[in-house]
């Protein structure tokens, strides 16, 4: 008979800080509480009164790991409001800069945050001792992704080159071509990474998820598409708030996102992969199959393989865009602000990032709503923990605790905005 409380007050190896509380009585999970995310409400308030032009730069500071995602969602929402479509090479450059960010973010997560779990290491420092090559690979790929973001973003550290309508400056064909060598090497390593992740050990754990992601008929989605799910959702991003709601949860400083009709849903690489497999490049599809991954996957622990496939795709797509690039005549299209409301969903490394802005006649922001992917995954993570603990309830406590943490890390949650600082301890109740 198991009666225990699993309390992880300080989650390691997730972005930011978080806490987990699972109560078990008589072999049943009686309670799961996950406190991992504080949405960027401060930024929503801070944006009021600012000009639409400032939204990309301000929101980019919400997350240090994915500033590009915030910039992309904000510019697309503003362009939606003003009836602008950015097409051609500018559109391609936006896909390219997103490739850079996906590569950086996924490389960090796969090697430094997730791999330690599978290899039985407490952290990346210990892995570095035994497998320095692994860490070197991660750094190498981060560097390749960073080079794309630095070139298109216009600055080494914080991207400043993205604007509503396009960019402030666009690179020459030659400048872009210089990235190709390192990206090709990165692609080779990314390919090996897929195969390497596929041979790790995975718990036998599958769930019946509702995956939600952008869907596009001809490309693996970054910035454009309709919102799809594997259970019948098919809406424009403008209809997001008609179908999704945020419920207040007392114990967490956060709101839980739900699909009004059906409850918890799952965003991120697994969702994109399950809904858009056919849109992956031929190489990514082939390597995916070689790794033994089917086009549909419902084991969240295998997200590490899926992330690797996406990383490989990002290298492949980046090289394709660079190969076909011709510098556009103008770095951006003209914008004429007007009273309007604009919406956008783009695919951040961790899933759909929703922005909505209400704008006044002169283009100043009256109201903003920002719903990050990690916010949207909180409920599904809790569900996973509940089911996982029930299934593996007879594991020794320490192991079960670690696996719970690993289960959370499957989602690569970004909890940079969280303000909770807590300590890790384990408590067991005897009844």
């Amino acid at each position: 008979m198991n009666n225990k409380t699993i309390k992880v007050d300080y989650l390691a190896r997730v972005e930011g800080e978080g806490a987990l509380h699972v109560k078990i009585k008589n072999d049943k999970v009686t309670d799961v509480k996950l406190k991992i995310y504080e949405p960027p409400r401060f930024f929503e308030a801070f944006l009021r009164g600012r000009m639409y032009t400032e939204a990309p730069d301000i929101t980019a500071r919400i997350c240090g790991i994915c500033p590009i995602a915030y910039q992309m969602s904000s510019v697309h929402a503003m362009e939606d409001a003003f009836g602008i479509r950015v097409d051609g090479q500018l559109r391609q450059l936006r896909r390219l800069i997103y490739c850079g960010e996906w590569i950086e973010s996924h490389a960090l997560h796969i090697y430094m945050l997730h791999a330690p779990d599978f290899l039985g290491y407490p952290d990346v420092i210990h892995i570095a001792r035994d497998y320095p090559d692994l860490v070197q690979h991660a750094l190498q790929m981060k560097k390749a992704g960073n080079a794309i973001v630095a070139l298109l973003g216009g600055r080494e550290v914080h991207p400043v080159n993205v604007r509503v309508g396009g960019f402030y400056k666009v690179p020459s064909k030659q400048e872009l071509s210089q990235l190709a060598e390192n990206l090709k090497r990165g692609r080779d390593v990314a390919l090996e990474t897929v195969l390497w992740t596929a041979q790790l050990s995975f718990p036998d754990f599958e769930q019946d998820y509702e995956f939600v992601a952008l869907w596009h008929p001809t490309e693996y989605p970054f910035n454009e598409g309709r919102l799809f799910s594997n259970k019948g959702l098919d809406i424009s991003v403008q209809e997001y708030e008609n179908h999704f709601a945020e419920e207040h949860v007392a114990y967490s400083n956060a709101l839980h996102s739900v699909l009004k009709e059906r409850g918890a849903y799952f965003v991120g690489p697994m969702a994109r992969y399950n809904l858009n497999f056919d849109q992956l490049s031929p190489l990514a599809q082939q390597v995916s199959r070689e790794a033994g991954l089917a086009p549909k996957c419902s084991n969240p622990f295998k997200s590490i393989i899926v992330r690797s496939v996406e990383m490989l795709y990002a290298f492949d797509e980046a090289l394709r865009i660079i190969e076909e690039y011709e510098a556009p005549e103008r770095p951006s299209v003209d914008i004429h602000p007007r009273t309007a409301t604009g919406y956008a969903c783009t695919e951040a490394p961790r899933g759909i990032l929703y922005h909505r802005y209400k704008l006044s006649e002169d283009g100043s922001i009256l109201d903003a709503k920002i719903i990050p992917p990690t916010s949207q995954n909180q409920k599904i993570i809790e569900n996973d923990l509940l089911h996982y603990v029930e299934q593996f309830i007879n594991l020794p406590e320490e192991q079960l605790t670690w696996q719970c943490e690993q289960a959370i890390r499957n989602y690569d949650p970004c909890i940079s905005c969280a303000t909770h600082f807590l300590k890790l301890y384990f408590e067991s109740q005897d009844e």
């Binding site: 390691a12 190896r13 997730v14 972005e15 930011g16 800080e17 960027p40 409400r41 401060f42 930024f43 801070f46 500071r61 919400i62 240090g64 790991i65 500033p67 960090l108 430094m112 945050l113 952290d123 990346v124 420092i125 570095a128 001792r129 320095p132 860490v135 070197q136 750094l139 981060k142 560097k143 960073n146 080494e156 550290v157 914080h158 940079s416 905005c417 969280a418 303000t419």
Partner: protein, 157 residues
């Protein structure tokens, strides 16, 4: 003279109150026009630091820390000769902290020949753009110390 020889990196997040102190200090240093010195504001994940300091001979990091000390306390470390105490957390909202990045760099033999850290104890790290008074008051002292360090070593770079 190689202008990447000395590198000062201010680490922080603009919108996390005292966590912006590293950035504020670097911005103030930029106005001083220090010779032979490159100044960088770093907000994103610290892992990029390993690449950022690749060619520099002398690196100074400036960051907010959280260690239950008096707000405004200034900590100084020579990262190559002293371990950074584990209870001194260089405040990071990301998984790989500055201290861990340094340890990683050490393991991979990718640390610069000289690496110094200045840490300023923060009081508030919640959302906001204002620093606490104690941290603001510590800024001029840190600036002066960083300049002194640069002036001491710069002739040898």
């Amino acid at each position: 003279m190689d202008d990447t020889a000395i590198l000062v990196i201010g680490i922080g997040n603009e919108y996390r109150s005292d966590d912006r102190v590293g950035l504020a200090i670097v911005r103030a240093l930029k106005k001083k026009k220090l010779p032979g010195t490159k100044l960088i504001e770093s907000g994103d994940d610290s892992l990029n630091l390993i690449d950022t300091w690749k060619d520099a001979k002398f690196v100074i990091l400036v960051d907010a820390v959280s260690s239950d000390s008096e707000p405004g306390t200034i900590f100084r470390y020579n990262a190559l000769t002293e371990p950074i105490p584990t209870q001194l957390s260089f405040h990071s909202s990301h998984a790989i902290s500055v201290a861990e990045t340094i340890e990683l760099g050490n393991m991979l033999h990718q640390l610069p020949p000289n690496l110094f850290l200045f840490g300023i104890e923060g009081k508030h790290f919640s959302s906001g753009i204002k620093m606490s008074a104690e941290v603001e008051n510590a800024i001029p002292d840190v600036i002066e110390e960083v300049i002194q360090v640069i002036q001491t070593f710069q002739p040898f770079m």
